[in-house]
C-alpha cells in the first residue's frame, strides 16, 4: 500500500473547514459541533459505525444538509459561494441499476451541470475516454451499468467524479459491498490519485481493512471523537467511544490491528471455564 508523504501545510488556507457545525435534516441534527480542517493534498478517512453521521459530514461539505449552527467554509468562503468543483462518489447501494444508461452516459453527467447543448462536444467525449482509459474501463464505455462487476461499477462513478478535474473528491463508503481484491484496488487507486495532487475524503466503517491504511482518520459518532494518524487514534478508549463497543488494539511490527472484545459476561464465563487467558492480550 502506498503512503503519501506528509504534506507541508504551512501558511495555506484549508480547502474545507467546519467550525462547530451542527447539521441535519428536517430540524433534527445528525451531527453536532463538528470542527474539522481539511488541507490541500490530504487523504482523510471518516470512521464510525452506521448512523454516526459520516455521510452527513460529506453532505455538509456538498451543501446537501441544513447547517443549524456553526459554519462550513470552502476555500475560506461560505458554502453558497462555492466555485470549486467537488467530485462525489455516492454509495453504490443508492444507485438505480435498472436505469437505462451506459457507462459513457454516466461519466458525461460529471460535465453536465450547466450545459444547454444536448450533445457532448468532441473534447468532452475525449475527456471521458481519457478518464475511462486511466481507470482501465474504456472497453466498457457502451455497456449498461448493470453489466459490470462491483469494482468496475465503482470505477464508473469514480470516473464521473474525476472527469471535471476537481481538487477535492468525496467518496461515501467506497469499499462497502465489494470483495477484498476490489477493495484493495480501489484504495490503491485512491492513493495514486492522492499522490497526483487530489485531496480525498472517504467514509468507512471498516477499521482494519480501510482506516488503518490512511494517513489521517477522523473518528465520528455524532461529533468528532478523535482526529489524527491511525497509530494515534486507534486506542481502546477512542474506538470504544466511537463504536460504543469494547475494542482490543494490538500493535504488531508497525501494524495496528483492532478486534472486538467479547463482552464482559462472556469473558467471565470463559474464565470460569478455564478456557480463556485474559492476560494474553
Amino acid at each position: 500500500m502506498l503512503h503519501p508523504q506528509p504534506h507541508p501545510f504551512v501558511d495555506e488556507q484549508p480547502l474545507i473547514e467546519l467550525r462547530g457545525a451542527t447539521c441535519g435534516y428536517g430540524g433534527h441534527p445528525a451531527v453536532e459541533d463538528v470542527s474539522l480542517k481539511i488541507w490541500p493534498g490530504e487523504f482523510v478517512g471518516i470512521l464510525g459505525p452506521s448512523g454516526a453521521g459520516k455521510t452527513t459530514v460529506l453532505r455538509a461539505i456538498l451543501g446537501g444538509v441544513k447547517v443549524y449552527r456553526g459554519q462550513v467554509l470552502i476555500e475560506g468562503k461560505p458554502l453558497g459561494q462555492r466555485r470549486m468543483p467537488i467530485g462525489y462518489v455516492p454509495q453504490l447501494e443508492t444507485v438505480d441499476w435498472n436505469f437505462p444508461i451506459t457507462v459513457e452516459e454516466v461519466v458525461l453527467l460529471g460535465l453536465a451541470s450547466n450545459k444547454a447543448w444536448p450533445w457532448a462536444t468532441r473534447r468532452e467525449r475525449q475527456r471521458v475516454y481519457e478518464m475511462l482509459e486511466r481507470l482501465g474501463i474504456a472497453h466498457l464505455a457502451q455497456r449498461h451499468i448493470r453489466a459490470l462487476s462491483g469494482g468496475q461499477q465503482q470505477r464508473v462513478f469514480l470516473a464521473r467524479a474525476l472527469v471535471a478535474n476537481p481538487r477535492l473528491i468525496l467518496l461515501d463508503e467506497p469499499t462497502s459491498g465489494v470483495d477484498i481484491k476490489t477493495r484493495d484496488d480501489i484504495l490503491h487507486l485512491l492513493h495514486q490519485l492522492n499522490h497526483q495532487g487530489a485531496t480525498i475524503m472517504l467514509t468507512t466503517h471498516e477499521i482494519n481493512a480501510v482506516a488503518a491504511h490512511l494517513p489521517r482518520v477522523v473518528c465520528i459518532n455524532r461529533t468528532v471523537i478523535a482526529d489524527g494518524p491511525p497509530a494515534q487514534v486507534f486506542t481502546p478508549e477512542i474506538l470504544g467511544r466511537t463504536y460504543g463497543a469494547r475494542m482490543v488494539v494490538i500493535h504488531h511490527g508497525g501494524l495496528v490491528l483492532v478486534a472486538e472484545r467479547p463482552h464482559a459476561g462472556y469473558e467471565e464465563h470463559l474464565v470460569l471455564q478455564g478456557e480463556y487467558d485474559a492476560g494474553a492480550v
Binding site: P90, P100, T102, L108, L109, G110, A112, K115, P118, A147
Partner: protein, 279 residues
C-alpha cells in the same frame, strides 16, 4: 387506402395523432423513469373536472384544465406534507378521483354540451377541433425545445437527483418545469386519446423502447418514434374499424409492447445459446 385523407376532420386528427404520439413518447420516458405513471394517470382524470367547469363558466378549455391539474398537484403535495399518515398514492387517489367525479357529475346533470366530452373521456378523432391542431403543435414544439435544451441536466436529475443537486443542477426549477410539461402534454392529448386512455399512450412507448435498448439517448429517440407510430397507426385503423381513436392507439401500442417483450426474451435466449453476452 387513402380514402380517409379526403376528409378534413381525418387529416386534422391524423396530424394531431402524430404530434401527440411524439409528445407522449418523449415525455413518457421521464414519467416512467421517475415512477410518475400513477400521478400522470390521476392528473389526466382530474383534468376532466377542470375542463367541464371551465366550459360551464365560459372559460378557456386549455387554461381551465391546466390550472385544475396544477392545483390538484399542489393539493396532493399539501395533504402528504401535513398528514403524514396518508401516503402519496392514496392522496393522488382521493384528489384526482374527486376532480374526475365532479366533472362526470356536471356532465350527467347538464346534458346540453356542444363540446364533445365523451371524446375527452374515451378519445375520439371527431373531437379534434381546428384550434386543437395549433395547441398540440405549440405544445410539441415547446416540449422538444425543453427536452433538447435541458437534456443533460434533466438526465442527471432523473438518474440521480441527490448528486445532480451537488453538481449544481437546478433541481427544484427543473422539477417544476417537468410538472408543467406533463400537465401541458396531458391537456393537449386529452381530446384525441381520452383521459381514461392517456396514461397508456404515455407509458407504453417508453416501456416498449426500454425492452429494446439500455442507452438513455437511444431510449428517448426510440420512444418518440414508437409513440408516433402508435398514434398514426391507431388513428388510421380507427377509421376503418370504427373504434375510438384512444383505445386504438393504446391497442396498437400494446401489440408492439408484446412483440418487444417476446423479442427481448428470445434475444436473451439466443445470446446464451451462442455464448454472446446480451444485456
Amino acid at each position: 387506402m387513402l380514402e380517409p385523407f379526403e376528409y378534413g376532420f381525418f387529416v386534422r386528427g391524423f396530424i394531431v395523432a402524430g404530434l401527440v404520439g411524439i409528445l407522449c413518447g418523449l415525455v413518457g420516458v421521464y414519467v416512467v423513469l421517475r415512477r410518475m405513471s400513477y400521478i400522470g394517470h390521476g392528473l389526466s382524470h382530474a383534468m376532466i373536472g377542470g375542463a367541464v367547469v371551465s366550459y360551464v363558466m365560459a372559460f378557456n378549455f386549455y387554461a381551465g384544465a391546466s390550472i385544475w391539474g396544477f392545483l390538484s398537484a399542489l393539493l396532493i403535495n399539501t395533504i402528504v406534507r401535513h398528514r403524514r399518515a396518508i401516503g402519496t398514492d392514496a392522496a393522488i387517489g382521493v384528489i384526482t378521483t374527486a376532480g374526475f367525479a365532479l366533472g362526470v357529475a356536471i356532465i350527467s346533470r347538464y346534458r346540453t354540451f356542444t363540446r364533445n366530452f365523451e371524446a375527452a373521456l374515451l378519445g375520439n378523432l371527431m373531437g379534434v377541433a381546428p384550434q386543437d391542431v395549433w395547441a398540440v403543435t405549440a405544445m410539441t414544439l415547446t416540449a422538444l425545445a425543453i427536452i433538447i435544451l435541458t437534456y443533460r441536466r434533466m438526465l442527471f436529475l432523473t438518474f440521480d437527483p441527490e448528486v445532480a443537486a451537488y453538481y449544481g443542477v437546478p433541481t427544484a426549477w427543473l422539477d417544476s418545469l417537468f410538472a408543467l410539461l406533463l400537465a401541458g402534454t396531458l391537456v393537449v392529448s386529452m381530446q384525441l386519446i381520452g383521459v381514461t386512455m392517456l396514461v397508456g399512450a404515455l407509458v407504453i412507448p417508453a416501456v416498449t423502447a426500454r425492452l429494446l435498448t439500455d442507452s438513455f439517448g437511444r431510449l428517448l429517440v426510440l420512444s418518440g418514434a414508437i409513440g408516433t407510430f402508435n398514434g398514426l397507426c391507431g388513428t388510421y385503423l380507427s377509421y376503418f374499424l370504427d373504434v375510438s381513436s384512444g383505445a386504438n392507439v393504446v391497442l396498437v401500442g400494446t401489440v408492439l409492447f408484446v412483440l418487444a417483450y417476446l423479442w427481448s426474451g428470445l434475444r436473451g435466449r439466443l445470446g446464451r445459446l451462442w455464448g454472446i453476452e446480451a444485456h
